[in-house]
């Protein structure tokens, strides 16, 4: 297929359709509104269902219902709306229902503003709602990856019967870039034999979709079952089939300082790395493309060689905690952040690098 010029939010919508998603439930919020607008037009063209719900709470529960009935289903929102969805995400994780949730992150806390931010990292990577659970968190840094990770997100969700969160931001959602879209995939709503209303001959006596385990022994068993699933996912991302998908390393082999950033920040960091190299500073870049499971093993390996880490985020410092956990005190981990919707410039970051590498 020829490349098409699209906004990030629209690329997610088209990629979802190509991935066989035919169900979208959402509620308007800036800066993700192009996505529901796109799908409200596109889904009816492919016999899909678009419902504008009465709230984010209802939208995520519609996702729970559709997912439990076997649909390839998604919702999207931005930070305050994602907070409202957390109840439903917890139920969906507990009941092991696959779905894709897109967060086009904006500034917080509270109503904050509509400018791009990365301040939902903790919420995204720690489960977000109540209880012992995880969501797989993907972090694109281009419109192309918005599309690719949407498609991969549906596959991962189905593979592990787990919600997948696409953590984007206002820049990626709004900017336009050329995208190479793949061929459409077919998805059969009747392909999951555990789903409610499944009509295949191999159906169990009846199917139940629930997150309640009133007996303490049963809930403990269920929670350990979930934990073991999360361990399997972690292993696949650290040493298994998704290893290369999980992280991008750039000029790290001889680096004296490694810059760490995800999403839109990683593109600024790439420029910083180039400028450092021109000035004789051996800088490298690590970009986690998957935020949970975090690429801990990669950080551990690099901590053996490099002298310093500088984590840059559009927050007061959230992912930096995961980097520190991985580096485990072996090397200094510095942080530079801008928050409230401000995007750091390459110049500012270069200054921080100078302070670390050339303290005089």
């Amino acid at each position: 297929m020829a490349k098409v010029l699209m906004k990030g939010n629209e690329a997610i919508g088209e990629a979802a359709v190509l991935a066989g998603c035919r169900y979208y439930f959402g509620y308007p919020i800036t800066p993700q509104s192009e996505l529901p607008a796109y799908l409200s037009k596109r889904l009816p063209q492919v016999d899909g269902i678009f419902v504008q719900a009465e709230s984010e709470v209802s939208a995520i529960n519609m996702v729970y219902g559709a997912g439990s009935a076997g649909a390839r289903v998604m919702t999207s929102s931005s930070s305050p709306g994602i907070s409202l969805k957390q109840e439903g995400i917890s139920y969906i994780a507990g009941a092991e229902v696959p779905c894709l949730i897109v967060n086009v992150v904006r500034g917080g806390p509270g109503l904050g503003n509509i400018a791009p931010a990365q301040s939902d990292y903790w919420q995204a990577t720690r489960g977000g709602g109540h209880g012992d659970y995880r969501t797989i968190v993907l972090a694109p840094n281009s419109v192309q990856e918005m599309a690719d990770m949407t498609i991969e997100g549906f596959e991962l969700a189905d593979k592990f019967r787990n919600p997948v969160l696409l953590l984007s931001d206002g820049v990626l959602g709004q900017m336009m870039e050329p995208v190479d879209l793949p061929e459409p995939k077919d998805y059969d709503v009747n392909s999951k034999k555990w789903a409610l209303g499944y009509t295949g001959k191999d159906k169990a006596e009846r199917n139940l979709c629930s997150s309640i385990f009133l007996d303490v022994d049963e809930l403990e068993e269920h929670n350990w079952h979930l934990y073991q699933k999360y361990q399997v996912i972690s292993d696949l991302f650290s040493k298994g089939e998704f290893k290369d998908f999980a992280v991008e390393e750039h000029l790290c082999d001889d680096a004296e300082i490694i810059l760490v950033g995800y999403g839109i920040i990683s593109r600024i960091l790439k420029t910083v790395v180039e400028k450092c190299r021109k000035r004789g500073i051996k800088a490298g870049l690590v970009r986690p493309k998957v935020l949970w499971p975090f690429p801990t093993a990669v950080m551990q390996r690099l901590a053996e060689k490099t002298a310093n880490f500088l984590v840059v985020e559009m927050s007061c410092g959230q992912m930096v905690e995961d980097v520190k956990l991985a580096v485990n005190g072996k090397k200094p981990v510095y942080f530079f952040g801008r928050t409230g919707g401000t995007i750091p410039s390459d110049f500012e970051i270069l200054n921080e690098v100078d302070k670390i590498v050339r303290p005089d």
Binding site: Y23, A53, S58, A59, M62, G65, A66, A69, L196, N207
Partner: protein, 250 residues
């Protein structure tokens, strides 16, 4: 010998956990009978609420989802849109449907989702231990209204049928009770009608069952039904508030 009474196919063999005298068991049975009569058990999908009937899925012998408090109509929307051939219903109490889930029920009704809602209104929160509900009567003493519900600070009982009947989309909105055999038969007919309309693809159907909660009312079952008749029915009058297809006359 001809068997004249048996467990409906749609009910599982699990014994009910409900308190002695509770109406839930009978209402479950009426739902199961309707599903059997309409021959839709193989495509029935229930959505259980949070509250005393949280384990409804244990008592029905078909597919079930267990939803968060108040969210059953949204979950049912997702299921029905995915499985349009499914016979999808929610079974909710007054705290679930008329307090925390007010937005979900009003908007599912307003969209005209082709689902059936069974709303059991016993004017109190049962599972959490008898707190004031949005449908508690004025002056009613509960765990959280120990001096009686005061309209000045806690408002008046919400009348869900009357509210939902103001919307254009719902096709059938009715209020029944099971306080005596005659009313029980009317309730059975209403629940049957509601599922029949869904089977025919007619749209949103809503059956409110005014019910008792002997445990949290602190009354014996027989006294509870007497109290219901004397106190609840004047506030929640029985009758059909909307029947756009004329199903009751058919």
């Amino acid at each position: 010998m001809k068997q004249v009474f048996k467990r409906p196919e749609s009910l599982s063999k699990t014994p009910f956990h409900y308190c002695p005298g509770c109406d839930h068991g009978v209402i479950h049975r009426l739902v199961a009978e309707a599903i059997d009569e309409l021959e839709v058990k193989d495509r029935a999908i229930g959505v259980a609420p949070v509250g005393c009937s949280v384990f409804a899925y244990d008592y029905f012998d078909f597919d079930f989802n267990q939803a968060a408090h108040g969210r059953a109509p949204a979950v049912a929307t997702g299921i029905k849109r995915t499985r349009p051939d499914g016979i999808v219903f929610t079974y909710q109490g007054d705290g679930d449907l008329a307090a925390i889930g007010t937005a979900e029920i009003i908007h599912a009704a307003n969209r005209g989702e082709n689902i059936t809602v069974i709303f059991v209104n016993n004017a109190i929160y049962g599972m959490t231990g008898g707190q004031m509900a949005p449908t508690s009567l004025i002056g009613m003493k509960t765990q959280t209204s120990p001096y009686g519900r005061d309209a000045a600070t806690a408002g008046h009982p919400i009348k869900m049928c009357e509210m939902i009947a103001t919307l254009e989309s719902p096709v059938y909105v009715t209020r029944v009770t099971i306080n005596n055999p005659a009313n029980l038969m009317k309730a059975k007919k209403a629940i049957h009608n509601a599922f029949k309309l869904q089977k025919e693809g007619k749209g949103f159907s809503f059956v409110e069952v005014v019910a008792i909660c002997p445990t949290n009312w602190g009354k014996k079952p027989a006294d509870s039904h007497k109290w219901l008749t004397e106190n609840m029915l004047p506030v929640f009058p029985l009758g059909t508030f909307k029947d756009t297809t004329g199903v009751e006359k058919a």
